[in-house]
């Protein structure tokens, strides 16, 4: 009797690989799939379920299915993808400084002057005093400013 090839562990492994790569490359672009990476978790769930089913088949029905060597290897690699994903999204991404000295609500925002993308100097105090971005209906003499500090290295 010829034993059938067992494609489930390979399919599950590929889905785990896609689950890992698709988060930074695609799903992280959209807040709804980035803040809580539920699509990635679902993909990992599907991938690992396929690997598991394939392994059960290989070991419970060895007379029908192959894959008792490759299956466990692909299973370990699939779990490694999951481990890397959890490290990337839950461990590494949380290693941020506490920033206990960052300005608190009610504090004066420290002034600074920095060059913009054209190299022209921009001073915070001047922006706050300018009318450019101020809400006209409020009648306030200056502008609100939102500072967005970002990691950079594009």
């Amino acid at each position: 009797m010829t034993r059938r090839r067992n494609f489930l562990p390979l399919g599950g492994f590929l889905i785990c690989g896609i689950a890992f790569l698709s988060y930074p490359l695609f799903f992280a672009r959209f807040p709804v799939t980035r803040d809580v990476p539920w699509v990635s978790w679902l993909l990992f769930g599907l991938g690992l379920a396929l690997v598991g089913r394939g392994l059960v088949r290989s070991f419970r029905q060895p007379e029908h299915y192959r894959g008792r060597v490759l299956g466990p290897i692909l299973g370990v690699l699939s779990l490694a993808f999951l481990g890397l994903f959890l490290a990337m999204t839950l461990v590494y991404a949380r290693q941020l400084p506490a920033s206990a000295g960052a300005p608190q609500i009610g504090a004066k925002a420290p002034d600074f002057t920095l060059p913009d993308a054209q190299g022209r100097p921009v001073r915070l105090a001047n922006l706050l005093a300018s009318r450019a971005g101020g809400a006209p209906e409020s009648g306030s003499p200056g502008s609100w400013v939102l500072l967005i500090f970002y990691r950079g290295y594009w």
Partner: protein, 93 residues
């Protein structure tokens, strides 16, 4: 207004590609970033960078709202800060 350690040329290239029109400032020596205690030492590819943070300042220069994420994949959404601004600006009228 966005601030990072990237030099102006890098920022200019990126915002042109992305079509963003608001102000981007360059702080390669992390002077302002340090003044705001937002330095993430060694956080970049071989260098110091800023941690993600958003700070809303009113026209008197007073900080009115702060967001310091604990996970850099979890970022502020525009509608969140717009809602905060609406409440604060209304209350101050």
């Amino acid at each position: 207004m966005a601030i990072s350690v990237d030099p102006p040329e890098v920022t200019r290239e990126h915002i042109t590609k992305m079509g963003w029109t608001y102000t981007f400032l360059s702080d390669p020596k992390a002077e302002a970033i340090r003044r705001y205690d937002l330095l993430h030492a060694g956080g970049g590819q071989g260098g110091d960078i800023s941690r993600p943070a958003e700070i809303l300042i009113d026209p008197t220069g007073t900080v009115r709202w702060v967001d310091l994420t604990e996970n850099y994949w979890v970022r502020l959404r525009p509608e969140t800060v717009l809602r905060a601004y609406d409440q604060l600006a209304d209350g101050g009228r």
